[in-house]
């Protein structure tokens, strides 16, 4: 089998040794060779010392899901040697630092060992502890360049781009690359059967993580207020937004900021600030993760009931409680759909990759303002923090923000009485006003019982009147959300339904199942409340495999609750151990259910 441009390898190091820049260099070099590549950072909740891995998948077919079969492992962390050796596929390669002898117990007969004295080479070439450690990482880039036939000119160009103005730094990096490269070419047969060959498949693509893309979406949508409390894995979303704002949101002449970023004392305050800012008329958002959503619940109910826009990014991580903060999951689907006490239902958007994270981020502000309600954008650690190859982002310059029904000064001037919750045109949405615009626009926003005129009430009919209208409003919003992605296959009797980042694994699994003679129709949910199309899809298949990343089958639960379909139609396929889902998980799950049925 030809393994050119079709393999996976991983690099095991210790946290805080600077391996991130080495791994980034490898990713970019492969990408610039025109070859589809995906990177998954498997990192600990730690600043320095604990084991960390970087997994790289090269796929000429363009598959981006995690592939847990490693053809090559670069084992540079003695603390995880045993585990790393065990994870090499049979017939694969293990690259290790041969400065120290390898424990005989770690030797597998079915694995080829490539010993390179990285520490020895770097100690001879570089002085200073930190530089020696850093350059050891760059040296393995050189070794891999030779073993996998990476383009040396591209590596040189990348180093020049990165360290162009710091000649000394560029020189030492290049020297380290050469050290690894030269040693490997002198001692081993290069390249290995797993190897790279230039393609032209990345010309219109970028390598980007979902948090950066979502931050960019907030910038483009015109968000001016961001409030947050630092939390993994959502932190880099606000950091990205801030970085973009520093570049694009300075007032010419004064250099003053056309944005406000509020680092709150906790997530409760963060969502409160977002609601306050949205109430006053700004586009405001908060990025957080599950624990933050748990804290925000009361305020989310207020925004729902008082009908104040808010945009909330939930970059999901493994729960419950603190869970595994640096591992991925789709554990907040139920939490976000019905956040807060009392009857609520919230608009949720589920991007599958950074491109959708960008697009849905922008769409979320329109939806929040149009429907005057909180909107959740649920990504996960895998989408948010890992580098994905996606088509270049585009923007339509004719876009204008949909601010929803906000009465202007002129409209208020001609209005005799303004009633905040009066639905005058039957679409379930009542016009709102902003503070400071006109005396006629004043009203009292409250989370306590209120009638359609905005006045306090404890009257049963008046209360029901308002909450029923809000329910209609949110149900109707389903039509305005991104439509589900559907792919049908002739002859398919089963359906496969998934959400968010499982998309990549499912697409690959469908191809492999199809090659196995198993035809399955596909639907990816992109919004909640569910579009009618989703109910139709479920009803059209005798059995639907619901693929998701949580223990309890939360997407399946939502489908049961919201579509009224019989439970027997929905078979659950789950993986929730904290790693991104791979095609294997999907295929194994589907086959197990099929065998059970047969």
């Amino acid at each position: 089998m030809d393994r050119t441009n079709d393999f996976a390898f991983k690099i095991a190091t210790a946290n805080g040794t600077g391996s991130a820049s080495a791994n980034g260099l490898i990713m970019q070099a492969i990408f610039r060779m025109g070859i589809p590549v995906t990177g998954k950072n498997v990192f600990p909740s730690n600043i320095q010392g604990l084991p960390t891995w970087y997994e790289i998948r090269v796929s000429r077919q363009g598959y981006t899901a995690r592939r847990p079969h490693f053809d090559l492992v670069v084992a540079l962390n003695p603390a995880t040697y045993a585990k790393d050796v065990a994870e090499v596929r049979s017939g694969g390669w293990l690259l290790y630092d041969s400065t120290w002898p390898l424990d005989g117990r770690l030797v597998r007969p079915d694995v080829t060992y490539l010993g390179i004295p990285l520490a020895e080479l770097c100690n001879a070439q570089f002085s200073g502890m930190r530089e020696r450690i850093l350059m050891k990482n760059i040296a393995y880039v050189g070794a891999l360049a030779a073993l996998l036939r990476m383009d040396s000119d591209i590596i040189r160009a990348l180093l020049k781009e990165k360290y162009g103005r710091k000649q000394a730094l560029m020189d030492s990096n290049q020297r380290a690359v050469d050290l690894g490269y030269d040693y490997v070419t002198r001692h081993f047969d290069c390249p290995l059967p797993i190897r790279l060959a230039p393609l032209d498949l990345t010309r219109d693509a970028i390598l980007i993580d979902g948090n950066t893309a979502a931050g960019l979406g907030c910038l483009y949508a015109g968000a001016t207020v961001g409030a947050w409390y630092p939390i993994t894995p959502a932190t880099s979303l606000m950091e990205a937004f801030k970085g973009f704002c520093q570049k694009y949101r300075q007032e010419p002449g004064t250099n003053r900021n056309r944005y406000a970023i509020l680092q709150a004392e906790d997530e409760i305050a963060a969502i409160g600030m977002v609601i306050g800012a949205s109430w006053a008329g700004a586009r405001a958002f908060t990025p957080t993760a599950g624990p933050g959503i748990s804290l925000m619940n009361e305020f989310i109910g207020l925004a729902y009931y008082a009908e104040v826009p808010a945009v909330i990014f939930d970059v999901q991580r493994t729960g419950p409680s603190t869970g595994m903060p640096t591992r991925t999951q789709q554990g907040d689907l139920m939490l976000c759909a019905y956040a807060s006490h009392g009857d609520t239902r919230h608009i949720c958007l589920y991007p599958a990759d950074p491109r959708e994270a960008f697009e849905f981020a922008a769409a979320a502000f329109d939806l929040a303002e149009r429907f005057q309600t909180p909107v959740f954008v649920l990504t996960d650690l895998d989408i948010g923090m890992n580098d994905w190859m996606i088509p270049k982002l585009t923007w339509d310059d004719t876009y204008r923000p949909d601010r929803g029904k906000v009465l202007s000064r002129d409209e208020l001037e001609h209005l005799k009485t303004f009633s905040r919750y009066l639905d005058t045109d039957g679409d379930g949405i009542a016009a709102r006003t902003l503070p400071g615009v006109h005396p006629h626009g004043a009203y009292f926003t409250r989370g306590s019982g209120h009638n359609r005129f905005g006045a306090y009430t404890e009257d049963a009919e008046e209360y029901v009147d308002v909450v029923d209208r809000i329910d209609r409003k949110i149900q109707r919003a389903a039509r305005a959300l991104p439509a589900p992605v559907v792919r049908t296959t002739p002859g398919a009797r089963a359906g496969l339904i998934t959400v968010g980042g499982c998309h990549a694994a499912c697409m690959e699994a469908l191809d492999l199942l199809s090659a196995d003679g198993i035809a399955v129709d596909y639907l990816r949910v992109r919004g909640f409340p569910f579009a009618e199309e989703i109910t139709r899809f479920v009803d059209a298949h005798e059995v639907n495999f619901v693929v998701e990343q949580n223990r309890d089958g939360q997407l399946r639960n939502l489908l049961l609750l919201e579509t009224g379909t019989p439970a027997a139609r929905l078979e659950s396929v789950r993986y929730y151990g904290g790693f991104p889902m791979s095609a294997d998980h999907v295929i194994a799950g589907v086959k197990a259910k099929l065998e059970k049925a047969a």
Binding site: A269, W395, R446
Partner: protein, 351 residues
Amino acid sequence: MTYIAKPTVHHPALQKNALGLVRRDYEGSVTTLCAGCGHDSITAAIIQAFWELSIPPHRVAKLSGIGCSSKTPAYFLKEAHGFNGVHGRMPALVTGANAANRDIIYIGISGDGDSLSIGLGQLCHAIRRNVNVLYVLENNGVYGLTKGQFSASADPGSLSKRGEANTMEAIDGCLLALTLGATFVARGFSGDKVQLVPMLKAGLSHQGFAFIDVISPCVTFNDHEGSTKSYAYTREKNVEVVQADFVPPTASITAHYEPGTARNVMLHDGSWVRLRKVAENYDPTDRDRAYAYIRDRQKEGEIVTGLLYLSPDSSDVHEQANTVAVPLTDLAHEDLCPGSAELEKLQARFR
């Protein structure tokens, strides 16, 4: 109830302010609090302060948390937007609103449960940020709506209506604010409108977080003998140390004071506060000495009132964050969105 309308026709002889508005124009709906509630007196003082300053009511936003005090924004400035949020979280709402639109005049109304128990953290951080808001803590030492439990401001030894003594230390809002670097700290008494109105006016003109703790007796649950938040106790133990006179930007200071007894502090909008020292050795611009003085008097069982501390140089959250002078809500989409060409360009770094 709150939706009962007040008559809108005014007597022609009513006194008008610079905008031609009478005090009634600054009122809200009819109060639903108990007859004699201190909070209603504070509401009256707030109405007076806004009227005297001739602030257009619709340029104000009034925010509150949950509780008796937090209901009161419905009872003043009916032409202003109001936001009755969730318990203890008004500071976050006002911080966000102020970030979005810095041109609105913000007043936050809270109580001792709202500010010193459930919302203590939010209060602390709003003070640290120096959000530009007049924050009025209507302090009665008791939870009224849930019928008489002690709040965090109840003094040790103070008796509940059922005769139980409070055992825990009280949190003093003014001492807390001083510790956290508040730039404007005052204490008033709902029964002393003459003292309260100028402090409210100064607080409204202050650029930053103006904290006013107002002792406001709860006539139903905390106005009995043995309570340290009753009308009788507060009247007896209240010691005014600084009298604040508010002088608007256009007026000149004409009153005469004995040398060394008064100090003028100019506020951001050009108005002045003249601080008259009633107590000797009290310096309302010295944070540490103000703190020590309040503590010392507390040991004697006295409640120190007045504009206790004022920082002459206060920079609010917008100045610290270097935001544009115009409200963020006024920025056009073109000023916020870099456009498609720039998007194409910036993606070079992702290749």
